[in-house]
């Protein structure tokens, strides 16, 4: 059996990669994808914990997490599209009227 540590480390690495995406990218869509990577990393952690403790409920949490992620994407894309209609831009750096 593959040690669970490997799965967890993989999950941690994916989470950090997702985080870096939010910090680095200017394109809102890719930022949203990066958040999805983070959520996926968490899902992986859930599944591996579930598997190693033999608790199926861990997978149920993942199920909910995926559903929520889908809902988030819907709302996020709706907001992004309406911004795009207004500003013709996907660049988050163009949005800094509010500050201070």
């Amino acid at each position: 059996m593959i040690p669970i540590k490997l799965y967890l480390v993989l999950s941690g690495v994916l989470f950090v990669i997702g985080t870096s995406g939010v910090l680095v990218r200017k394109n809102v869509l890719v930022m949203l994808m990066s958040v999805e990577i983070m959520l996926n990393a968490v899902n992986l952690a859930f599944v591996s914990f579930a598997r190693y403790m033999m608790l199926p409920k861990g997978q149920v949490y993942v199920f909910f997490s995926i559903t929520v992620a889908a809902a988030e994407v819907i709302v996020g894309l709706a907001i992004i599209i309406s911004i795009f209609h207004k500003k013709e831009s996907m660049d988050v750096d163009d949005m800094n009227v509010l500050k201070g």
Partner: protein, 474 residues
């Protein structure tokens, strides 16, 4: 069937659906009806919650619970949502926002908050959080035609999904630590020395604090607050500052009341630091603000800091003082936003603090209420704000954190400066610009009720405090 115990939430959800259906199906939709239906739902739900007082019940091992704690917070959420709807009515009309979706989203968000306050299960908590966040993100960009609200909405949305990923990771750690995400069960396992992974539990606590710290806008997770409060339509700002923040605190208190005994040594220090930097940053930056909505945003950050002060120890006394403080804060804050909503003509808002100049001569009663709300936020007797602060400080002293209280007192001296500036402008300056006032019945009535409450709870706080002190978690 136990479901009747969860009727409050169910009623709110069904009212939301009903409003949507009415808006879509009814032939001649009258806008007042949307308000009436929503208010009726909220009030029936409030009454139902009140009936359940003292009848603790838990469904599916704490998947959903109905205890005094959840009831108090549910009533908070329901009433503050009702006030939000009341103070925003003609604002919505003037901005062409008076649609069923608005009411439905507010109601669903309220249901989300109620879920957050009434569960032991972290995944339900997470779902409640999302049920709160998504409607908020939509509500923030509800207003058409202005850049601000879109920018605010995007910032809020991206940062809140970002932080909720951390929160979810915290849940995963909890699951890994204890094999369950029911916090009551985790606490039980901990006390019986069952095998629990302490490192995981600690890190989980940290990530949960991050996720909830975002909601309650504790520094440094507050960073979204000023921009979003500024950009959002004013009723939604009020909603964010009242409901969303209190929901965050409800979850925080619920979780850490249980987790605390196991890992309190580490957490106390965390909360002390968060409290001090939160109130200091909030108060200091508020001084430089010229925009009343931004000023109130920083003030609300500062108030989170005060509440965190007492959460360094989770005793019944500290919890009840935190709840009382939150109530007092919400009353004054809703009132302040109500007055910001009154300084308006059609879709033009007057949100610079200079627009308050000389208000006392033009609208003495309105200015008087604003003065009450500002004094209450500043903590000057005989307003409720003073009583809240005093109760908070004395419990903190009793918990043995005198240094924290000194920090809090210094902060409240700082805070007096910017709150009193508003009073000063209203009473001691001439009117500069002709600022129109739009006062409609539902706003007037709400301001009146809130103003009276802000004084009443300063003079007669004891009944409500003793209510909060009755055993909360049973």
């Amino acid at each position: 069937m136990f479901s009747y115990l969860f009727m409050p939430i169910i009623i709110v959800v069904f009212t939301g659906l009903l409003v949507l259906l009415y808006d879509v199906l009814a032939v001649n939709v009258r806008k007042e009806h949307l308000l009436f239906i929503s208010l009726a739902g909220l009030i029936i739900s409030t009454l139902y919650s009140a009936i359940l007082w003292g009848l603790p019940f838990s469904f599916m091992k704490g998947m959903l619970v109905s205890d005094n704690f959840s009831i108090i917070f549910s009533v908070f959420f329901l009433l503050s949502s009702a006030f939000i709807l009341l103070i925003s009515y003609t604002y919505l009309n003037d901005n062409n926002l008076n649609v069923g979706e608005y009411y439905a989203l507010v109601l669903f968000a309220t249901a989300g908050m109620m879920f957050m306050a009434s569960t032991f299960n972290l995944i339900v908590l997470y779902l409640g959080l999302e049920l709160l966040t998504l409607p908020l993100a939509i509500l923030i960009c509800f207003k058409k035609g202005r850049d601000f609200s879109h920018e605010a909405s995007l910032k809020f949305f991206i940062l809140s999904v970002f932080s909720s990923a951390f929160f979810l990771f915290g849940i995963a750690f909890m699951f890994g630590a204890a094999g369950t995400i029911n916090i009551a069960q985790v606490a039980g396992d901990f006390s019986t020395h069952a095998v629990i992974s302490l490192p995981y539990l600690l890190i989980s606590a940290g990530l949960l604090i991050l996720g909830l710290g975002f909601k309650i806008s504790s520094v440094p997770f507050h960073i979204w607050t000023p921009d979003v409060y500024h950009g959002a339509p004013t009723p939604v700002t009020a909603f964010l500052s009242a409901g969303a923040k209190v929901a965050g605190f409800a979850a925080l208190i619920r979780i850490f009341f249980y987790l605390f005994p196991g890992i309190h040594l580490s957490l106390t220090e965390v909360f002390i630091v968060l409290s001090v930097i939160t109130m200091t940053l909030g108060n200091i930056v508020a001084i430089a603000q010229r925009n009343i909505k931004r000023m109130l945003a920083y003030s609300s950050i500062a108030h989170s800091g005060y509440v965190l002060m007492v959460l360094t120890v989770f005793t019944p006394a500290s919890i009840s003082s935190a709840i009382f403080y939150l109530m007092v804060y919400v009353i004054a804050n809703l009132g302040a936003f109500g007055i910001v909503l009154a300084l308006r003509q059609k879709d033009r808002e007057y949100i610079d603090i200079m627009h308050f100049s000389g208000l006392a001569w033009k609208r003495p009663l309105l200015a008087g209420f604003m003065a009450i709300f500002m004094l209450s936020l500043a903590g000057v007797p005989p307003t409720a704000g003073f009583m809240g602060k005093f109760y908070l400080f004395s419990v903190t002293v009793k918990n043995g954190f005198t240094g924290l209280v000194i920090a809090g007192l210094i902060n409240s001296v700082l805070a007096a400066y910017y709150y009193l500036r508003i009073v000063y402008l209203m009473y001691m300056k001439e009117e500069k610009e002709n600022v129109p006032v739009t006062l409609f019945p539902s706003l007037g009535v709400s301001l009146f009720i809130l103003g009276i409450a802000a004084i009443y709870f300063g003079i007669f706080p004891s009944p409500i405090i003793s209510l909060f002190k009755t055993t909360l978690f049973h």
